[in-house]
């Protein structure tokens, strides 16, 4: 088990109802999980809790065998080894593609930076774009930079929040399939959040269906999506 949430409860400040209620889930190494649910059901919040961007009220979170959160512990996001691809990519506009990708490599030796850069660039198929700035790239290319940046430090798990919503329909399908190939090839554990059933079917090993802050059901795509 690479990641586990146990009985996690959370609400945003100034909200009365619990945004996440008694949520438990687990993931195996290399698994691709999709969280499917309507807008407002709490999918993004689950990702933010795993990443450490929000602090649960109760429950327990473990990643890679170490406790990230319980009554006594809270590990800051920068120490969790979790990568994230944001909906709007959040590429640093003042850095080049190479700068963005190398940003998370502080723990590696300097000499290894260029090697790692070259290998992830190769993986996402962006060779030759290293010197460009984010605004000089297309939407699809920006997304691949975001993926490369999240992958570069070798995180235990990568989280994707509606990664296809900013792309037009043709590109969406192409990138979706590409992404699954890349992730499987690199053996990366990942969670995708989406409200689109087709996305979930195409990419997931397993699907979690969410509603109002709790899990409705979970299973293989064929079982859940009929």
């Amino acid at each position: 088990m690479i990641m586990q949430l146990h009985d996690v409860t959370f609400s945003y400040r100034n909200t009365k109802e619990k945004t996440i209620q008694h949520l438990s889930m687990e993931m195996e190494k290399g698994e691709i999980l999709t969280i499917l649910g309507q807008s407002g059901s709490g999918k993004s919040t689950v990702l933010r809790l795993i990443a450490g961007l929000e602090v649960p009220e109760a429950g327990m979170i473990t990643i890679n065998g170490s406790t990230m959160f319980d009554q006594k512990t809270f590990v800051q996001p920068e120490n969790r080894g979790v990568g994230m691809v944001f909906q709007d990519y959040a590429l640093f506009p003042h850095m080049t593609v190479a700068g963005n990708i190398k940003f998370g490599l502080k723990k590696m030796k300097r000499a290894e930076h260029d090697e790692r850069l070259a290998s992830v660039i190769e993986l996402v198929g962006l060779k030759g774009f290293e010197k460009r700035y984010p605004h000089e790239l297309s939407g699809g290319q920006q997304q691949r930079v975001a993926l490369a940046r999240a992958m570069a430090p070798n995180p235990s798990i990568i989280l994707f929040d509606e990664p296809f919503s900013n792309l037009d329909a043709d590109l969406q399908i192409k990138i979706r399939d590409e992404l699954r190939t890349i992730l499987k090839k690199a053996g990366i554990t990942s969670i995708f959040v989406t409200h689109d059933q087709a996305d979930a079917r195409a990419i997931a090993d397993r699907v979690i269906l969410m509603e109002n802050g709790h899990i409705l059901k979970t299973g293989t795509p064929d079982l859940i999506l009929c």
Partner: protein
């Protein structure tokens, strides 16, 4: 809530520094607040019985009429520039802001220099036309004169905000009113004024706060208002207690104005609607009306900028050889020095507090941001008295420490430059904070979150990601603060150390010593720098908004 949980969530270096800074910023106001209720002395009884009513009456009269005339002039100009075609319209659109570059105290002694007995106006009448007019006709050193000065140099606040508002209004609104048979006057008073209400009130309250802040104009004209009374109590009678009570009173008036602004504005904020509306196109008028319109606009521009500027220029040419000296260079150095240090400190505090507010969901963050911008509403003289009493209190307590430690050459804080800079920071923090806040607002939180998920601490993220992304806003804020400090008068007059002058206090001193011509060079420098501020504000900050 669990205390440990609360601490873990909300206590970090940013929040601790923010709270400390906020308390420091608040200390002058608190200092006044705690001492305001102390037992009054004899002098205060005298002030209260014989003088106070007059101070308050004069203050309110100047505030009321300046507010009224600024609204009439500012709104009418905004409307004309937006709605009608006339010669040089594009130039005036920006040119009508220029009077703001002339601080009212400079305007005051320049106008007095023009109309007094030896001034260009009366001497021309005497020498060219052989008319010796009754000098009383030319006396502007009275309340109406002060109202004229304030209005003509401060109306741009109303003009700028109202014009920006009108430019975003849909053309159909105005066209409908026209189709329904409204004449131009009716259109102006029944449609334009009411729909621009929030903008007008916003601009007018800026004008009023500037008037309440002023010391230069009223003291030069010899008008008794609360600010001048504070100076007299402090410098004339060394009566700290009364100065504090007067400062408290002035602060109460400021809060009243801020409260009125909130109430009058209603719940509506400036509505910058995002809907794509058809903007208002200016229309042409008949020949006679166009000439009238142009005449009016030209008159305001001439009175508010051209006349004082040309006169100062001429005086400057007359006297610069005499004025420029090592002492004058020292003056420039002093001004630049305190302005740079203050701007630097302010931007650091603004960044710390701005970042704290942005990242924190804690209940204090709102309070902190309110306090941060409060200083700018509080008149300089009030802040100065607050800072003075705060530092005197510090000195008293440090003195005991010095004695206990046996140090015999103590540093007396209330005599140093540090106190002046502290007061600048307290008063102008809002000016540096607002652009930083807007900048952070624009970039949002996702870049910071992305950086942290890539293994970068909050502090490192700030330097590698957040700061580079808002550097435009930081630069803009720095420049604006720098300029505000350069121009500042009342606070500097009260707190400048012995034998330390800035450009503005020296210019004011020249003018007070009947050496108005010698004040011209320093005044001109201040005006040029202020003009730059207007440029920076519009060029850099407008770009930042988009």
């Amino acid at each position: 809530m669990n205390v440990i949980r609360f601490i873990r969530l909300h206590v970090n270096s940013w929040s601790i520094m923010s709270i400390i800074f906020t308390l420091l910023i608040l200390s002058p106001a608190l200092s006044i607040f705690f001492q305001i209720f102390e037992k009054p002395n004899e002098n205060w009884a005298h002030i209260q019985e014989f003088l106070l009513k007059n101070y308050i009456q004069n203050t309110l009269m100047i505030v009321f009429f300046t507010g009224l005339f600024s609204i009439l002039i500012g709104v009418s100009l905004a409307w004309f520039v937006t709605a009608y075609r006339f010669p040089l319209r594009r130039f005036f659109k920006w040119g009508l802001i220029l009077p703001l570059a002339i601080p009212p105290y400079i305007g005051a002694y320049t106008y007095h220099g023009i109309v007094n007995y030896t001034g260009v106006l009366q001497s021309t009448l005497r020498n060219e036309f052989n008319i010796t007019a009754n000098p009383a006709y030319f006396d502007i050193m009275n309340i109406p004169g002060a109202i004229f000065i304030f209005t003509i140099f401060l109306y741009p606040y109303v003009y700028i905000i109202t014009r920006a508002y009108l430019e975003q209004q849909s053309a159909s609104l105005i066209e409908n009113a026209r189709l329904l048979g409204s004449g131009p006057l009716e259109l102006f008073f029944r449609v334009i004024m009411p729909i621009s209400r929030t903008a007008i009130i916003g601009g007018a309250s800026l004008v009023i706060l500037e008037v309440l802040n002023d010391y230069g104009v009223v003291s030069y004209f010899g008008i008794q208002v609360i600010t001048t009374a504070i100076f007299q109590a402090w410098f004339g009678m060394s009566d700290v207690a009364s100065a504090i009570k007067l400062a408290g009173m002035l602060m109460a008036i400021v809060f009243l104005i801020l409260f009125l602004e909130k109430v009058l504005r209603g719940r509506k904020q400036y509505s910058y609607s995002n809907a794509k509306v058809r903007p208002l196109e200016p229309i042409s008028l008949s020949r006679e009306k166009t000439i009238l319109l142009f005449g009016y606009v030209m008159f305001i521009f001439t009175a508010g900028f051209l006349i004082p500027f040309v006169q100062l220029f001429q005086w400057m040419m007359m006297t610069y050889e005499k004025v420029v000296s090592p002492d004058f260079l020292q003056l420039i150095f002093n001004s630049v020095y305190v302005s740079l240090i203050s701007a630097f400190i302010i931007m650091i505090i603004a960044l710390v507090i701005g970042n704290f507010i942005r990242l924190s969901d804690s209940p204090w963050s709102k309070a902190v941001s309110r306090v941060t911008v409060l200083g700018y509403s509080i008149p300089g003289a009030v802040i100065a008295i607050g800072v003075l009493t705060f530092f005197l209190w510090l000195d008293r307590h440090l003195n005991t420490v010095y004695t206990a430690l046996g140090i015999d050459a103590p540093i007396i804080l209330s005599l140093g430059l540090g106190m002046l800079i502290f007061a600048y920071v307290s008063r102008f923090l809002a000016i540096g904070f607002n652009p930083v806040d807007a900048g952070f607002d624009k970039i949002g939180r996702s870049f910071t979150e992305a950086s942290r998920l890539l293994g970068t601490s909050l502090m490192r993220t700030f330097f590698k990601v957040d700061l580079p992304m808002i550097r435009g806003a930081v630069f803009g804020g720095f420049t604006l603060v720098f300029i505000e400090v350069m121009k500042e008068l009342p606070l500097t007059l009260l707190l400048q150390p012995f034998n330390f002058y800035t450009l503005s206090t020296k210019a004011f001193q020249y003018a007070n010593d009947e050496a108005v011509h010698e004040a011209a060079l320093a005044s001109m420098l201040i005006i040029l720098i202020s003009g730059l501020s207007i440029f920076v504000f519009h060029a850099v900050l407008e770009k930042e908004k988009k």
